[in-house]
């Protein structure tokens, strides 16, 4: 298992995602597309009284985009949209290689994606779910 190309955390979230399923009655749904590779994601969020009470994703993507989506949902479920946006801003900082150690800690497992900042071709994969979430919170799609 130490042989894992992307490391334990990502491999685990990719092979055994917690949040990869339908969420038929979600209050919000938004689609994201990564044109470079044709990957797509559908993000479902249940938002009630200013709290993201549940969330899931569907769609096809590489390990990085899938793990990133799963980890993101793990982080934002139970939080407010503003907190979710804050995490998104931290995540962007991390990918740009501009994050402080304290901030990195706040990102919890998402920190496992830090190395993506060294893989320019994969940055879009890691960001897909985060960008889709921001689009959703800003009123994108339905």
């Amino acid at each position: 298992m130490t042989d894992n190309f992307y490391g334990e955390v990502l491999a685990d979230h990719n092979l055994h995602p917690l949040h990869r399923h339908e969420l038929p009655c979600a209050t919000h749904v938004c689609k994201g597309l990564n044109p470079t590779c044709g990957d797509d994601i559908e993000l479902h969020l249940d938002i009630h009284d200013g709290v993201i009470t549940d969330g899931s994703f569907t769609g096809l993507g590489c390990a990085i985009s899938q793990a990133s989506a799963d980890i993101m949902l793990e982080l934002i479920i139970g939080k407010s949209p503003d907190e979710a946006r804050y995490y998104a801003s931290l995540f962007h900082k991390m990918i740009e290689g501009k994050i402080s150690d304290e901030e990195l800690e706040e990102l919890e497992e998402a920190g496992a994606l830090q190395n993506v900042s060294k893989m320019p071709a994969r940055v879009k994969c890691a960001l897909l779910s985060w960008n889709t979430m921001e689009k959703l919170l800003n009123g994108g799609d339905s």
């Binding site: 298992m1 042989d3 894992n4 190309f5 992307y6 491999a11 685990d12 990719n14 092979l15 470079t36 590779c37 044709g38 990957d39 096809l60 993507g61 590489c62 390990a63 990085i64 899938q66 893989m119 071709a121 994969r122 994969c125």
Partner: protein, 409 residues
């Protein structure tokens, strides 16, 4: 049969000197350049560079000769009747757009039909899609089976009296299969339909003779056949080109301009607006020389051997699925595949970690992927300068993919 004058040698390619460990298997996307081509281009800029065609001094005459001799070399290479039929463009995409804009806008009207093979590269699809939309014509597709094969009977059924043009690649950049262009051209012409052949993947790998194939148009790119980027070719039958209106306009493509109108230059200049890319044309000619010196016989032999080796090894891996034909000899250096449970991006990333360059995605053929019911795929594509060691390295890594993604065994 002519014996090759030159042996295949990876040492001609400086990139492999720089990156000794690199296995380059993305040749369908673009090829690496032998030093002979780079040196020829550099020589042009050191000794022959000027704006050609209109210059009345020695250097400009040299540039004109360099340019027109390159055109003659291309003519000979694809067996065209006349250099008037050879238009230099930027790449195959521009060549195809030129046909759609110039021939298309003059000849396609509402109610007409354009037939396109479903495996076409976006560059041989979007220009037709846009043309059909603009003119109210119908865009129809000819579907292939899962082995990538197009049947003559299906083509006959798809053609109607309204079908004005049929666009198909000689070799698809996903399947690697050679389509029976000559037979299809015959069927099309019997129906009064023109045939456009996208030769981007065939011209670099097999001998192509436009008269033998009997195609109306042929498009290809220099950068996929050892030449620099920024140069491509459109072949068109003289009678057709003669009647087509100009596409891009500007310097060098006119006879006479007044405030109110212009008369256009003779072929091929009518379609070459602005200062031409002599350096690129000279590079393409040097690439053709290089290919001719080795000879297509040796090139095909090597590419087929390597394809077969890779194909057979891939077949042994249970979770690897090759797209297209089940016969190695149908693949002509292009092996597109999926690995069960692993996304093509991750496959490419792992190959990259092992210093092997392959491609993942839809390979600019999204409608084909939709047709085949796969979202994206991974492709390895080889050239004659690859060797057995490259294939071995490729197979070794391929075998590790699932394990490295966290799957057992």
């Amino acid at each position: 049969m002519k014996v090759s004058e030159k042996l295949i040698s990876k040492a001609d390619f400086p990139v492999f000197e720089k990156y000794k460990d690199l296995v380059y298997l993305d040749n369908s996307a673009t090829q690496q350049k032998p030093r002979q081509v780079l040196e020829r281009v550099e020589k042009y800029y050191r000794e022959e560079n000027a704006n050609p065609l209109r210059g009345l001094y020695d250097l400009s005459v040299k540039a004109t000769d360099a340019y027109e001799n390159s055109r003659e070399k291309v003519r000979e290479f694809i067996g065209a009747n006349s250099t008037k039929e050879i238009i230099f463009t930027r790449n195959a995409s521009e060549s195809l757009n030129l046909i759609a804009y110039s021939w298309g806008r003059a000849n396609i009207g509402s109610g007409d039909e354009i037939l396109v093979a479903i495996s076409e590269h976006h560059s041989d699809l979007l220009p037709w899609q846009l043309l059909a939309k603009e003119k109210g014509a119908a865009l129809k597709y000819l579907d292939c089976d899962k082995y990538g094969e197009y049947k003559a009977d299906d083509l006959k059924k798809a053609l109607t009296p309204q079908t004005k043009i049929f666009a198909i690649a000689q070799i698809s950049n996903v399947f690697g299969r050679v389509n029976p262009i000559k037979e299809f051209a015959g069927i099309c012409h019997k129906n009064g339909t023109l045939i456009v052949c996208d030769g981007a993947q065939s011209v670099p790998h097999i001998p192509v003779d436009v008269n033998d194939l009997d195609v109306d148009f042929l498009a290809f790119s220099g950068h996929k056949m050892l030449a620099p980027m920024g140069i491509g070719v459109l072949y068109g039958r003289e009678e057709l080109l003669e009647k087509m209106p100009p596409f891009l306009s500007g310097g060098e493509m006119i006879e006479y301009v007044t405030r109110d109108g212009a008369t256009y230059a003779e072929l091929p200049h009518k379609f070459e607006a602005g200062t031409v890319n002599v350096g690129g044309a000279v590079g393409l000619a040097a690439a053709i020389d290089y290919i001719n010196e080795i000879g297509f016989e040796a090139i095909e032999k090597r590419e087929n051997e390597l394809t077969e080796l890779a194909f057979n090894e891939m077949k042994k891996i249970p979770y690897v699925n090759i797209i297209g034909s089940e016969k190695a000899e149908d693949h002509h250096g292009i092996l597109t595949f999926t690995v069960e449970g692993v996304h093509p991006h991750d496959i490419a990333a792992i190959f990259d970690a092992d210093n092997i360059a392959i491609r993942a995605g839809h390979h600019c053929a999204q409608p084909l992927h939709q047709h085949l019911g796969v979202q994206s795929t991974t492709r390895m594509s080889l050239a004659f300068y690859n060797d057995e060691e490259d294939i071995k390295r490729f197979i070794e890594t391929l075998k590790t993919i699932r394990r490295r993604m966290g799957y057992d065994g």
